[in-house]
Symmetry: C2
Subunit: 553 residues, 2 copies
């Protein structure tokens, strides 16, 4: 069997100018980055209506067995684009850290990939590097302000803006900086996050234009004074410089799938401490160009799905016309209790138990009032009985499950699902918000806990309780909420698989992200700087004298 | 008077495809990065001969009064390109850190600039970001190796591979990492260098192809074991991944001057702890394409000039056909003792004293056996008497001084110098090496001290003495030497201006850079991570809703 990169390298890519033309773009609308990548000048397109039908691809709670959400998104787009109408993909960009660490790339798989696979997984068009540079320039100006007389009265013990690198590096999680004597800064505790966890990433992907980007950057709270008053980027006076550093990163990137379907790959915020979806500008651009726009959200429906619908949709100005929830027999059996090593064996009991998780995620998505379909992403070990069990279960929940074989067959492996999606998006439906913008923070959170997770209520730790009072005073208590919760469970305990009932969600603290414009509710420890495994993926990667890359997956 | 960025923004740039064609490149030889930037696929060109005449632009010891070396290089190229033969510029890339700090950009000035000025000074084609990513991936895998059982027996107190960011951030000079308990690494002292100080930058700019790059990366010494044996990148097994990260960064970048002269801007190593010149591949590529190739080296003739001639030339396979030493009346008066605030007033005494510095640098360059000319980069305050004094002095030294006014007039301000250069490169000359490859390290160093600096000898501190013995044992004692010395003086004391006599150069320690393939001789403290000034340049930079940038200079 060929590896993803082998399949990607054998593909004959079309010049990006041709892809742009097929997508309805003028040559003056794009800035080519090499033969097969381009930036889209989105401001040229704002007079076009968002005519496309939007299809959100999400999934059950992820498991180590894998679901293939990106792969289904790409395969489904290829299937839809093969018909008379046009389709486009709008995905997130992969982060370099995990590519060199353990996870590998994030460009789909098999015959359902976006290409050039290696470039997209490496530096791509430099968006993440621009974010890293902007993030660390902000940190440097902050420490410089403390060092050069501290006129803003920043309390070095209350700096919340850490530093960032797009790398997996556990040794940088907790550091002390400013050592080495009086000419090398003021000593204080600090740490590094991976770039995708930067608030600038959340901001870049929520901004609707360059000036919105700048306005949001100005509002970022980076520290507190000795009097516990917030210090913002505006106070430091570098919002202009940071926006300049992001002037190209804010433009969506155009590439193609293996079947030459135009694909916009742009932005990649975490789905726990941020909204977990690609950029507003990318999705808007795709909606102006294609009849069908396929997009996905990070982790499962409870995390990325909810955030897409509650946080992104109001700013996007468009709700999905259909939602696809991806599941696999293997993942459902794993969440139902079957060990990873046994997943190739039929186990209807485990599957039945695991289906409860699909059930809750399906119900959560259905509550938004748009058609929801299920994609069962097929593996060779799946038995007929197992597939039938899923299909019957889904039918009972008022939806339909379709087999997809996109890894092996590309778009041809998703024709049935594509037809169902085409019908679904034409159905008359009314998008129903989970909460209103001016609901209080706790009202919002409790609606998410009940309707999305199937839980009882949110319980606040003392610190969170105190913060809530402070937010009310500062006028931050009506902002959208971002739930930072384990992706593995509907609860806040990663070990509770399936669909638990009668549980509480424990909120330890809130993190206000005023630039992004939301409040993060922390339900547990979220690792914002991953580590490398014993044998990092980087040790397998090589390149030969012809520039042929091996070991990237 | 218009600022550099205003002049640059008003310029009408030609599409990079046209510039490439004018330079003799096929469209298949380039990878466009937007409208006005491209990467050159150098491996397509290796069958072409290096037909061009090479002109090295260097200067007196730099002063705060400014010399305008890049500006002369660009203006002279424009002047030469205006004639029947073709000319190209081959310069270094600016570093983002100083752009946001104090120094501003490094793309020439006035009407002698390379453009797009803002892009080149910001992310350009991402080369420095790729270097940062590769540098820090290496650091992460090193700490991960210590954390995951330390099979290489790395002594955490003897790690010499620091981390890097392309930023001015004094608070990161000295840090402790790996804090926060047993799951977050092993605590140790560490620090960050600015990316241009990374050995990877020196390597990228000395490599002759992708496999040479990989071979050099393998040889980098990153740490020592508990038994004091060197640990290399090869031992960590990530040379392939690092090379993959640099696969595009190694390709030279094509842009243009305001007069549409093709310009290759590539690489930017420090001229104190590294060779201080643009890449071998960039210069080779330019020599294959143009009749005249104008290049420069960092700091003055004693630092960048010497390194260009002794370290770069043997690997480039081509020596300069002429050398231009840039000076200004103001800088010479400053080095002759006149205060910065008084430089607009005529002062023949100070000038006379300052000319000694020009004299030594001129003599040093003349010792290589190729024609040397002097460019007096004119300011409005310069008097006729001052100019005459310089011209007479230079004539007595067997050279000729030409007035240039490239800031105000572009190429038209360098026609006389251009004519002289055209004649000079046709002169019969014999390039004379300062030292032989197999000279001992101390023989090399003492030749530099005597012939280039005009000093007496090098004196080694105890540590350096000990290292010398160790290098002999390891077989490192025949490598080229990189003198890390203050740029402000011919001595190792930045306060001794002019051309001191009978001085010793004190070498505190050596730093072996086995990947780059040279030994750095440290004569004092070299700051490899700058700090931000009280009012960083970043606070002046802004962008409006049309994407117009202001405050970048």
């Amino acid at each position: 069997m060929q590896s993803d990169i082998e399949i990607a390298q054998e593909a004959e890519l079309k010049p990006i100018s041709e892809i742009a033309e097929a997508a309805g773009l003028q040559q003056s609308d794009i800035e080519p980055y090499g033969f097969d990548k381009a930036k889209i000048k989105f401001d040229h397109l704002t007079n076009r209506p968002m005519k496309g039908k939007l299809i959100l691809v999400t999934s059950i709670n992820p498991t180590p067995a894998g679901e293939g959400k990106s792969t289904v998104t790409v395969g489904l787009a290829d299937a839809l684009n093969a018909g008379e109408k046009s389709a486009m993909v709008a995905l997130r960009e992969p982060s370099l850290g995990p590519v060199m660490g353990m996870k590998g790339g994030a460009t789909g798989g098999g015959y359902a990939q976006v290409v050039p696979m290696a470039d997209i997984n490496l530096h791509f068009t430099g968006d993440f590097h621009a974010l890293t540079a902007a993030h660390d320039l902000l940190a440097a100006t902050l420490d410089n302000s403390i060092y050069q007389g501290n006129v803003l009265k920043i309390d070095p013990r209350r700096v919340i803006w850490k530093r960032a690198l797009d790398i997996n590096d556990r040794a940088l999680r907790h550091v002390t900086i400013g050592l080495g004597g009086p000419t090398s800064g003021v000593p204080r505790e600090d740490g590094f996050d991976i770039t995708v966890a930067s608030e600038l990433m959340a901001i870049l992907t929520l901004s609707t234009d360059l000036m919105d980007l700048k306005a949001r950057i100005k509002r970022i709270v980076v520290a507190y004074t000795y009097d516990k008053e917030p210090v913002t980027v505006d106070d430091l006076g570098v919002a202009g410089a940071l926006t300049v550093l992001l002037k190209d990163a804010v433009k969506p990137n155009l590439v193609q799938t293996l079947a030459h379907t135009p694909a916009i790959i742009h932005g990649g915020p975490f789905a726990n401490i941020a909204q977990g979806t690609n950029s507003i500008l990318a999705t808007q651009t795709a909606l102006r160009l294609a009849d069908y726009v396929l997009t996905e959200a990070g982790f499962g429906a409870d995390l990325g799905g909810e955030k897409f619908l509650d946080v992104k949709v109001p700013r996007l100005g468009k709700h999905p016309d259909a939602i696809v929830v991806v599941a696999t027999v293997r993942a459902l059996k794993h969440t139902g209790g079957q060990a990873l090593a046994d997943l190739q064996n039929e186990n209807l009991d485990a599957l039945e138990k695991g289906l409860a998780n699909l059930g809750q995620n399906l119900k959560a998505m259905q509550s938004y009032g748009v058609p929801v379909l299920v994609s069962v992403n097929r593996f060779t070990s799946d038995t007929e009985a197992e597939i039938k069990l899923i299909q019957d279960f889904v039918a009972k929940q008022g939806s339909q499950a379709f087999l997809t074989e996109v890894w092996a067959k590309g778009g041809a492996g998703a024709t049935e699902l594509a037809e169902a999606v085409q019908d679904a998006v034409e159905e008359k439906s009314t998008f129903t918000k989970l909460y209103e913008d001016d609901d209080d923070l706790m009202v919002k959170i409790n609606k998410i806990v009940k309707k999305i997770y199937g839980g009882r209520q949110a319980v606040l730790a003392d610190k969170a309780q105190k913060q809530l009072a402070e937010f009310k005073q500062r006028g931050w208590d009506k902002l959208p909420v971002i739930m930072a919760k384990t992706q593995y469970s509907l609860t806040d305990d990663p070990k509770r698989l399936g669909a638990p009932k009668d549980f509480d969600i424990h909120i330890r603290e809130f993190i206000p992200k005023l630039g992004a414009g939301f409040i993060v509710a922390m339900t547990g420890k979220v690792l914002t700087m991953p580590g490398l495994p014993k044998v990092p993926a980087a040790t397998k990667i090589d390149i030969d004298e012809n520039g042929q890359i091996t070991g990237l997956f």
